[in-house]
Amino acid sequence: MNAAVTARPPAFVPNWPARIAWIALALYAGYATSILDVSWARFVTGVDNGIRFVGRMLPPETEASKMTLMLRGIYETLEIAVLSSALGIMLSLPIGLLAARNLMPPWLTWPTRLLIALCRSFHQVIIAILFVKAVGFGALAGILALTVASIGFIAKLFAEAIEEISAKQLEAIRATGAPFMNVILYGVLPQVLTRFVGFATYQFDSNIRNSTMVGIVGAGGIGGTMFAAFQKFDYDYLLTILLAIIALIMVSESLQNWVKKVYQ
């Protein structure tokens, strides 16, 4: 053995804090399982119930009046999703810009970040309950609730995307004597546009799913009809609604792919 070699420090230093954190997580997961009475027996009965439930769903309801009711719900859901996404995206652009710490002074980014954090604090359904109380039952409450949720998501990601842009490109545009708005248009926007389109289409997809939820608390859309079907044990109708929602999501998925292709 060469003495110089043995004297060297190890090539890979173990990361003890990370190891301890993993062990702690595993221990807590075991503890939580024991407390919550999660057992194999309960799981087996659950599977049994599930099979019976699915059996009662088949075949799906296709009666004309119910189909009309469902379609009306789906249309409303779609309206809520499109309007809240459009409104949310439009508001997120300036809000995200104001929150970007590489472009704006702290006295502006700080309150804007607080506003975004506030929008993100609660689940859409909770915000929807607040808006139902404020503006009454119906689609308006759903639109407003999902707009707030969209701002919380897109504005935050948009601000982060702006903070990661290359300062060199910005510097070059600034050096031409361009006014601030032109610096944004040529130095910032081209660098973040594809990512912004990605966030926006993802949020639209989420909003379609979320807009099926807010109906449960009376904020409009297919969710209300679905919840009623649940409570009336109308499981075959429930299946029809679920299939319609799946179809809607798939259409939105292909729309997203198309939009992303247009913007590269």
């Binding site: 060199k168 490109q169 050096a175 361009a178 610096v183 248009l185 081209p190 546009l193």
Partner: protein, 263 residues
Amino acid sequence: MPAESQPRADTPTAALEIRGLKKEYRRGEPVLHDISIRIPGRGITAVIGPSGTGKSTLIRCINRLVEPTAGQILFKGLDLATLRGKALREARRRIGMVFQEYNLVERLTVMENLLSGRLGYVSPFNAWMRRYPADDIGTAWELLDTVGLTAFANQRADALSGGQRQRVGIARAIMQRPELLLADEPTSSLDPKTSVEIMELLAGLTQGRGIPVILNIHNVPLARRFAGHVIGMAGGRVVYDGAPEGLDDTHLKEIYGGEDWLE
């Protein structure tokens, strides 16, 4: 265009005069110590010196991408060091800049990058709609012909090679119709052959238009070949200021030798 006032104490032939310029990024640790230089009104003035000696800071103080701590920068009767807001933007419009890493907007096309040189003159709405004066678009096509990139006009800048990008960078600066051009190590990221081609292009385009150039460069042979005036910097101070012919090994040893490399 702001009314051009007469040059003050600086001689009519000077493109720029810097007096007592000092820059500290951290208090008490000056990067530039009391720089006083005069840039001739014609030709290329090369600023040579090792990396980290403040060449880049000096050039960025001129168009205020970096804020000077103290001193005056006199340009066409204006003190660039004191300008703010609109006056600063209007002064920047008159000063073109070429960067070491080209600093093109990668996702815009070559044509859009060229026209971004006119952003100081175009309203945000027209800039967004890509509505530029026909005159500017004509100049852009001519410049693309000159730099040999006409076929690339509608390609995105990230599709270009290093040499091609720097050609676009130079064309963008010329699009400003500048009265002074700042070039910060424009050839340092390029191979030797392309470096010479880029320098020939830069010299040709500015000479024909009578634009004085301040060129940061650490390559002494290139500086000697293209510059009419040389400023040597070491440790944040000017140690040589004169004709390229007067630059001898003693000066070069003072500029590049010793501990200055470590700064």
